[in-house]
Amino acid sequence: MPVADVLLSGQLLFAALVTGALYALVALGLNLVYGTMRMLNVAHGDLVMLGAYAGFWAFSLVGVSPLVAAPLIALAGAGIGWGLYRVLFRRLLGGFGTNSARMEGNSLLLFFGLSIIVQNVAAAAFTPNNRGYTYLENVVHVGNVAMTVNRLAALIVAGLTCIGVAFFLGRSVLGLAMRAVIERRDAARVVGVDVDRVQATSFALGFATAALAGVLVSMLEQFSPFSGFQFTIAGFIVIILGGLGNLMAGLVAALLLGMIETYGVALTSANLRSVLLYGLFVLTLLVFPNGLLARSGVRR
């Protein structure tokens, strides 16, 4: 295919946007938890996997459309996140006071353990079989671009959610407090931000977006109890590209990643996917160690 055709193809743009939007949604939750608490949730992809199962069961057992079930599943995810924070992580955070390095290490172990437990419980409870179902599989044509309706729906839901969260962070008091905690944790505490409440909220929001991403994933591809890891990795790449804790930059980085996956592969070869992805990743770390879109001198 000639280069110009590749770059101007609406079909590729659509593919890049779908991939990018899903990455953005996955990375958003990961980044929220990291930003407010400096905890790297390596079980994040497993939450996506659980969300996918919830969507799958809702559709196959109860016959509920995954799009209808999605808000409820996200709410359940929020509940689990909030509960885990209250029961497990608040104590952990409190115990370390200002020793954040040790806390980061311990939380990593805790999340790692959580990830293994979630995977194996899911395998025992749901069997390790691949799962998948068909929902909104019909194809619509807009101009010369063919779109499967479920991919279009996933793009819209993921995009709107990201925009919604961005508004929440930019406009609401709690959102602003959240950003304050992300940027200057101690200063936020000094000016009277309820850090505990912010952290509980970000945990809940992080888990909710992961669960929602899972429901969308379940509409598009097959999954098993062990397919969460790929989302954790994708999420990591996005938030490191954008800058850890930098939420808006994460969204841009996710779209960039989607573009590389589609356009990079189209212009070179599918076999170079990982080379392109990790090449950019390493290059970013070398040239912009604080992330592609970090404002100089502001972060830590």
């Binding site: 590729l12 659509f14 593919a15 062990f226 599918a270 076999n271």
Partner: protein, 399 residues
């Protein structure tokens, strides 16, 4: 995590059996003791999603054997129990497990783990302890390098033969041009290497040939090019994960070649569920089995599997697993637990299985032909070669 499964039942079962053996007459002692069959299976890790169809088949067999009084061990019926460990999708773990099964657990017989690398990895262990095992879910030209003697491979889906037979199949259906896309994992890569020269030899034009990595997330650009190539056949040498991605995106882009071959994935019942029955219809894939009246036991196996699990067996892996059990069962009925005798019998005799007669030449099945199946009205049917076909090939008319 090396826990036998299910532990409690096993322990209780063994205790009960031991108790009975102590109380009973010495001559009855062995017959009352259950026969222990050991194996490893990827229950966790990246391959765990591929193994249930094999494990389900093992469990169905155990249930049936025990229901008819047990496995015939040289004329004495003994109940069967499993000693299973999770190999965590790691071949090196399987090596340790098989050593332990032989030396520590002292199991009576061994069943195969899932997958080619696992079979190849444990072959030296079997050789070392002179412990025969009938393999099943392994297919590679590399299997021929395995020293013959203690392991056998019933499959006929070996990549070089697939190259020859698939080409003949395409030719017979008047295919003049093809697009080849291949996952770079070993099995599909091997198929590609053997298939493309065969296509050229047969005068089938390869209009496009591309490879992609196992973690592919989007095939839009590759399939857009494939569509522009406008070939009679698309040969998607895919693994289970990307077979679904391929089908979904081929549908989206309207990649409507009349011959749609998807290498691995469609033989598993999850495929039509994940892509939809109409998309799965007329897709051709690798397998050499489907229920046929000529193959004794094939329909009862299919019916029993569907009854127990509520879905079709995997037409490749479940069938192979069942064949391996049939072969072992017949050998043990004659030889008892004498390993050397079991080995001789498996090496020399011809076995009637649900996939027709099987005889081994070295490590390989010398009889079963390399074959292909196609979804027709929601069921897989053998459509090539003609000698064992249960139906005729149909052109795919869209997704």
């Amino acid at each position: 995590m090396q826990r036998p499964h299910p532990p409690r039942r096993l322990v209780l079962g063994s205790l009960a059996a031991a108790g009975l053996a102590l109380c009973g007459l010495p001559a009855r002692a062995q017959a009352d003791k259950p026969l222990r069959l050991g194996f490893s299976m990827a229950r966790t890790g990246m391959l765990a999603n591929a193994t249930p169809s094999q494990l389900n088949t093992y469990e169905l067999w155990r249930e049936q054997v025990n229901a008819r009084g047990g496995m015939d061990v040289g004329g004495v019926k003994r109940k069967v129990e499993f000693v299973m460990y999770d190999d965590q999708s790691k071949p090196e773990q399987a090596v340790r497990i098989y050593e332990k099964l032989i030396t520590d657990d002292k199991v009576d017989l061994l069943l195969a783990p899932w997958g080619t690398p696992f079979h190849i990895a444990i072959a030296p262990v079997l050789e070392k302890y002179k412990f025969p095992m009938v393999g099943n879910t392994a297919a590679s030209v590399a299997l021929r390098q395995v020293k013959p003697g203690y392991i056998w491979f019933p499959t006929s889906a070996i990549p070089d033969r697939i190259g020859v037979e698939l080409t003949a199949f395409l030719k017979a259906n008047n295919v003049k041009s093809a697009v080849v896309i291949a996952n770079v994992l070993p099995f599909t890569k091997e198929i590609k290497n053997y298939l493309e020269p065969e296509l050229k030899k047969a005068g089938i034009e390869v209009k496009m040939s591309a490879e992609y990595p196992p973690d592919v997330k989007d095939m839009t650009s590759m399939l857009t090019q494939a569509k522009q190539a406008n070939a009679d056949a698309v040969l998607a040498l895919a693994y289970p994960g990307d077979s679904v991605l391929y089908a979904k995106q081929a549908k989206e882009l309207g990649l409507n070649s009349k011959f749609q071959f998807v290498a691995i994935g469609p033989s598993d019942p999850f495929f039509p569920k994940a892509v939809g029955a109409s998309a799965a219809e007329d897709v051709v894939t690798i397998a050499h089995w489907s229920p046929r009246p000529q193959w004794k036991g094939s329909q009862p196996f299919y019916d029993a599997y569907v009854k127990k699990y509520g879905e079709d067996p995997d037409f490749l892996n479940s069938a192979l697993a069942w064949m391996s059990l049939e072969i072992l069962e017949k050998a043990v009925a004659q030889a008892g637990l004498d390993k050397a005798k079991i080995r001789d019998i498996i090496s020399k005799q011809t076995f009637e299985t649900i996939n027709g007669p099987v005889r081994f030449d070295g490590v390989q099945n010398a009889i079963t032909p390399t074959a292909f199946v196609q979804y027709q009205s929601g069921r897989l049917q053998v459509v090539w070669p003609k000698s064992i076909a249960s139906s005729q090939f149909k052109a795919k008319t869209g997704w």
